[in-house]
């Protein structure tokens, strides 16, 4: 590696952090300069204070509650949406029939049907996971279906000419081809999974970061609510990065080629 490209790599690695720190500083300065009241927008310093006023074990409890719902919902969504996308790709009838239903489900604000879900499923993890799934599975279906349909026709002909079972056409050609699309769906879905878990906690929960934020807000502990929000953002970012890392690790060929 040349010194020039090493410097570049360093710059690339460092710049997000620099930017982030600059942003936080700007925020602090704006809060101080305009003496914005903390109940409107607390300064980062106030948020950090609030963060450490909550016991760490409490944070972990809330984190775990949110994380397990988000990840479970995310996982179930993947398991559900890929077969649906495959089935819809295989049968136009199914696709035409199911697509409107999926859109309806997707565009129904979960907050509005929450009571129904709670009454039917009880106010425990299961209904929260369901709410998360409702939010996440649609982007996955759409991305997977788009990807599956973009498989080059020559490869489909190759499979047809082998008279291979459709199952293998799907698994050995279409799905791998859809991997870049699936991951673009996964990137969207993982952040929606967190949102789903948080919304679910707004609707029914005793713990979790969403519950914590709303709870703090209802008691006017705005810096504390922001601390929760901040924590949540960090967790989301890590999950999002994990999705990217998994793609790099398991499907390196699916990443766009860097120019020479």
């Amino acid at each position: 590696m040349s010194p020039h490209s090493r410097a570049r790599a360093f710059l690339l690695g460092v710049s997000p952090w620099v930017f982030f720190v600059a942003l936080i500083l700007l925020w602090e300065i704006v809060c101080q300069a305009f003496s914005l009241p903390a109940y409107v927008l607390p300064a980062p310093s106030a948020i950090v204070d609030a963060f450490f006023q909550v016991e760490f074990s409490r944070w972990l409890t809330h984190l775990w509650a949110t994380l397990r719902v988000a990840l479970l919902g995310f996982g179930i969504s993947i398991l559900v949406s890929i077969p649906i996308a495959v089935a819809m790709m295989r049968s136009e009838l199914l696709s035409r029939t199911l697509y409107p239903l999926l859109v309806v489900v997707q565009s129904t604000p979960v907050v509005a049907v929450a009571p129904l879900i709670i009454v039917l499923m009880g106010s425990d993890d299961s209904s929260r996971v369901l709410i998360t799934c409702l939010l996440t599975f649609f982007p996955l279906v759409v991305s997977t279906a788009t990807g599956i349909n973009e498989t080059p026709p020559e490869l489909i002909e190759l499979s047809r000419s082998l008279d291979a079972p459709t199952r293998r056409e799907t698994w050995q050609i279409r799905i791998p081809y859809a991997i870049p699309h699936i991951f673009s769906g996964l990137r969207i879905a993982i952040t929606l999974a967190i949102i789903g878990a948080v919304v679910a906690e707004f609707v029914a929960a005793e713990e979790g970061l969403g519950y914590f934020i709303q709870f703090s807000t209802s008691f006017f502990r705005i810096p504390q609510a922001f601390a929760g929000l901040f924590f949540l953002a960090v967790v989301s970012l890590l999950l999002f990065k994990s999705v990217q890392w998994s793609q790099q690790l398991f499907f390196p060929w699916s990443l766009p080629k860097k120019g020479h």
Binding site: P152, E154, L155, E157, L158, S159, R160, S161, L162, D163, A164, R168, E169, Q172, I173, P176, I179, F251, W253, S254, K257
Partner: protein
């Protein structure tokens, strides 16, 4: 493979044609093709670009339904893709996520779900034959265009299919590799006889390899002539200097260059 098995009609096309555009004012891509491929026969197809050679191949493979006439194999009508057909496509169609070796083994993996150590050995042998021995572990995008095409050929040979359909398989190869791999193909074909339809743009190659050469007219593609290549086998580099070779090649050249005079 008993000798009685050869010389029998194997693939039969009667009045076969295809139109991509339903608009009747647009001529069909190919039309009125009557053609019989005998069992274990090597037939080359030549004709101007765009005359419908690939279309014809796709109809024989069952990938494309003829819009007129019918194709049958061994007396049974073809109404869908057949599994005893190996195809080399005009564009290399490798899977970008598989190494070269796994791309070659892909038909087995795809058709049967698995392959044996023996298959792997055979794949390596075939790759060696195609001059790709040291590239087995590379990914397709690390190969040159010609190498990718060669991988596609090796892949089609792996399954040792009854019918081998090849769409300009050698066009991306250099002259030496091309001649070499042509003879290699003949050797394989003689050892493990199969019915071959071989599309090429090289008249010399067609005459050198085939039992018969199908000459197609320009669009809409029809059969101009079917030329029996009565050169002895095995064919070698010496065949090229045979006077009969020049004669046959010239006859085909006349069709292609001056279709009106020839017919």
């Amino acid at each position: 493979m008993s000798d009685t098995a050869t010389n029998r009609p194997f693939v039969t096309l009667t009045g076969v044609g295809h139109r991509y555009d339903p608009n009747p004012s647009v001529p069909p891509a190919v039309t009125g093709i009557d053609l019989v491929l005998r069992r274990h026969e090597f037939v080359a197809v030549v004709g101007p670009s765009g005359c419908g050679k690939s279309t014809l191949l796709r109809m024989i493979s069952g990938l494309l339904k003829p819009s007129e006439g019918a194709v049958s194999v061994f007396g049974r009508p073809v109404d869908g893709p057949r599994d005893d057909v190996g195809i080399v496509f005009q564009k290399p169609t490798l899977l970008p996520w598989l190494s070269v070796r796994r791309n070659v083994l892909f038909p087995l993996k795809h058709k049967f779900g698995r392959y044996s150590k023996g298959d792997e050995k055979r794949a390596d042998e075939l790759l060696e034959m195609a001059g790709l021995g040291s590239f087995a572990e590379k990914m397709p995008d690390e190969l040159s265009g010609g190498m990718q095409q060669r991988v596609g050929i090796v892949r089609a040979l792996l399954l040792n299919p009854d019918i081998l359909l090849m769409d300009e398989p050698f066009s991306a190869l250099d002259a030496m590799t091309r001649e070499q791999i042509g003879f290699d193909l003949l050797k394989i074909w003689e050892e493990q006889p199969k019915t071959v339809l071989f599309i090429t743009h090289s008249i010399a190659e067609a005459v050198l390899l085939a039992d018969r050469v199908l000459v197609m007219s320009k669009r809409p593609g029809t059969v101009l002539d079917m030329i029996e290549v009565d050169l002895p086998r095995p064919r070698t580099t010496r065949t090229i200097s045979d006077a009969r070779f020049g004669e046959l090649a010239d006859r085909i050249r006349t069709y292609i260059y001056e279709p009106d005079v020839a017919s």
